[in-house]
Amino acid sequence: MPALPREEVAHLARLARIDMPDAELDHLAEQLTAIVDAVASVTGAVARAEAESGQPVPATSHPVPLRNVTRPDVVVRTLTAADALAAAPESEDDKFRVPRILGEDA
């Protein structure tokens, strides 16, 4: 039975870049364990289907076949810099201004 220990949820929250206080981690670990328990049945269902048919089941990532789409290389109207920056938390010289991206130990 899969279970998500609190430490693993804390690790996933760090990967997902979400600060999470301890109380929230405990509650979420409990809920996620129940959810993963319920959805994990897909693994067994696929194994049974493959055993019954003797064939591997191909994966489907998308309901319709995907192909890359390109457009002619012509100049079209795009957003102005002012429009693109209008909702920016901070901007400077027609650019997004962001906090420093390297930490102390980088």
Binding site: R17, A38, P58, S61, P63, A86, P89
Partner: protein, 527 residues
């Protein structure tokens, strides 16, 4: 100029409003004002009103209505729906009008462009009243996960209006708008339609452009129309549908002739149509969690289909029983990737953590603080679940297996559609549940999507339409129709035939019986 009272006007079907506009019996300004007045009457306050709208653009709507009235008086050729108001789900971006997707993350964001569907509706002369409430980033089945407070069900103020598109469905049922838009990733158009006694269609995947629809799970998301009748839904579908070069997954087919199909169906004759009842969606032995009154109304609807000349048989789609599990692995995986864009850098919320020197703070600290504050509990649950499902060591077992289930569900539908023209099931296993009832039990909330999810996995079109009130609680029940990919017209033909027979039986529409909002809001328990 008007020969209708404002109270009568807002209760007309969209097609009747369009007819009154063409006949000069009413102006678009009068029609728009009647809806704005209705919104003012029932939508607020947030604590006790219907709260279908997050933003109402009275000034913009009236200005657009004046333009359309002027164009009509000049004799310009206008679209059939020109001058009719529409409510737009807040997941669709609107240039110059706030678009939040129900999230604090985007509170106050005013997009610099329009979604393709918004452009299409503007070109057709539909008048945008405002933006409708929804679960945050379309994650939820109750609209309780909106960061701005829940929407209430016009049938009973203590009940959920469904979700994620509860705002659009409630706006229709409360006569605040005759047409509305939705997006359906696992049932977010169909389930709200079912629990509010309205009609909603999830088109074939790729049938309506996703450009400008704030993404949840890109392989499942599909925009579509919501209305009070099958014909009105078809009229909006034809406005929203069609190829869009800006969406790489957009179908190149012409828009299906759904209006003609609805008109044909309304004659009530389904001779030669084969209808398959999906065994695994509520039939004996597969009815755990299905409410008795829902099953009773569904059974009566099957009798109507038979009486209309359809051949009704039971068909098996055994893998739909695994669809819920597959969906709640695929959706969080795609969502965790799509929602990575909310990082506090380019638009939306930015939170600088209080305990760090602002001069020293790093982008990563800002991201983590922004996402902690900007996302609600359901968004966080799904992002973390998706991050888990995609992490090394679990990828094959979870995400990989879920994708294989997707294949098996598609094969089941392919085989079923060899035998029948359309499939039917109850849209949702129960009527509207009470606000707060499932808020902290995500798994119970997810189980309500059991009948709607398979269509999204397979990319096939689906409709929900009202088939009556459940005797035990007097709340609306929806029937779901499914058709093969690109055969959206079948939904409208069969849906309109069933609707015509039910209207004849009821002596009107189900929504004729929706209680007056003031009465409903006082009988409901406080939410």
């Amino acid at each position: 100029m008007t020969s209708h009272s404002a109270a009568e006007l807002v209760r007309l079907d969209a097609s009747a409003m369009a007819g009154a506009l063409r006949a000069g019996e009413v102006s678009s300004v009068e029609l728009t004002q009647a809806h704005l007045d209705r919104i003012a009457e029932v939508d607020g306050p947030v604590e006790s009103g219907v709260h279908a709208f997050l933003h109402v653009d009275a000034e913009g709507a009236l200005a657009r209505a004046r333009e359309l009235d002027a164009a009509r008086s000049r004799g310009e050729e206008l679209h059939e729906l020109a001058g009719v108001p529409v409510a737009v789900k807040d997941v669709m971006v609107t240039r110059g009008m706030p678009s939040t997707a129900g999230s604090r993350m985007l509170e106050g964001w005013v997009p610099p462009y329009d979604a393709t569907v918004v452009e299409q509706m503007r070109a057709a002369g539909l008048v945008t009243l405002g933006k409708t409430n929804m679960d945050e980033f379309a994650m939820g089945s109750s609209t309780e996960h909106s960061a701005f407070g829940p929407t209430r069900n016009p049938w009973a103020a203590d009940r959920i209006p469904g979700g994620s598109g509860g705002g659009s469905a409630a706006a229709l049922a409360a006569f605040e708008a005759p047409l509305a838009t939705g997006t359906d990733t696992g049932g977010s158009i169909r389930q709200p339609a079912a629990v509010t006694g309205t009609v909603g269609v999830k088109p074939t995947y790729g049938g309506v452009s996703r450009y400008g629809l704030i993404a949840l799970a890109s392989s499942l998301d599909q925009g579509g129309p919501c209305a009070r009748t099958v014909l009105d839904t078809a009229l909006l579908h034809e406005v929203m549908g069609g190829h869009d070069p800006r969406d790489s997954t957009s179908l190149t087919d012409p828009v299906p002739a759904v209006v003609a199909a609805a008109r044909e169906g309304a004659r009530g004759d389904l001779t030669g149509v084969r209808v398959g009842v999906v065994r695994e969606m509520g039939r004996a032995g597969h009815d755990e969690g299905y409410q008795a009154g829902v099953l009773a109304r569904f059974e009566e609807a099957l009798d109507h289909l038979r009486a209309a000349g359809a051949e009704v048989v039971e068909v098996g789609c055994p893998n739909v029983e695994h669809a819920l599990g597959a969906y709640y692995l695929i959706l969080p995986s795609e969502a965790s990737s799509n929602l990575a864009r909310y990082d506090g850098m380019r638009y939306g919320l930015r939170v600088v953590p209080a305990d760090v020197d602002p001069a020293e703070v790093t982008a990563e600290q800002v991201m983590a603080a922004t996402r902690a504050e900007g996302f609600g509990p359901e968004a966080k649950r799904r992002i973390i679940l998706g991050t888990y499902a995609l992490s090394s060591g679990y990828y094959d077992a979870y995400y990989g297996s879920a994708q294989k289930i997707r294949t098996l569900v598609q094969r089941d539908f392919d085989a079923a559609f060899e035998q029948v023209d359309v499939l039917v099931s109850p849209t949702a296993p129960t009527t509207a549940f009470r606000l707060g009832e499932k808020l902290d039990d995500p798994l119970a909330m997810y189980r309500g999507d059991v009948a709607t999810i398979p269509a999204n996995l397979a990319g096939i079109p689906g409709m929900s339409l009202p088939v009556g009130l459940a005797p035990e609680d007097g709340l609306p029940v929806g029937l779901q129709l499914l058709a093969p990919a690109r055969e959206d017209a079948r939904l409208y033909r069969v849906g309109a035939a069933l609707e015509a027979r039910l209207h004849a039986q009821w002596g009107g529409k189900l929504l004729d019986r929706v209680p007056d909002w003031t009465a409903a809001s006082t009988t409901g328990a406080p939410a």
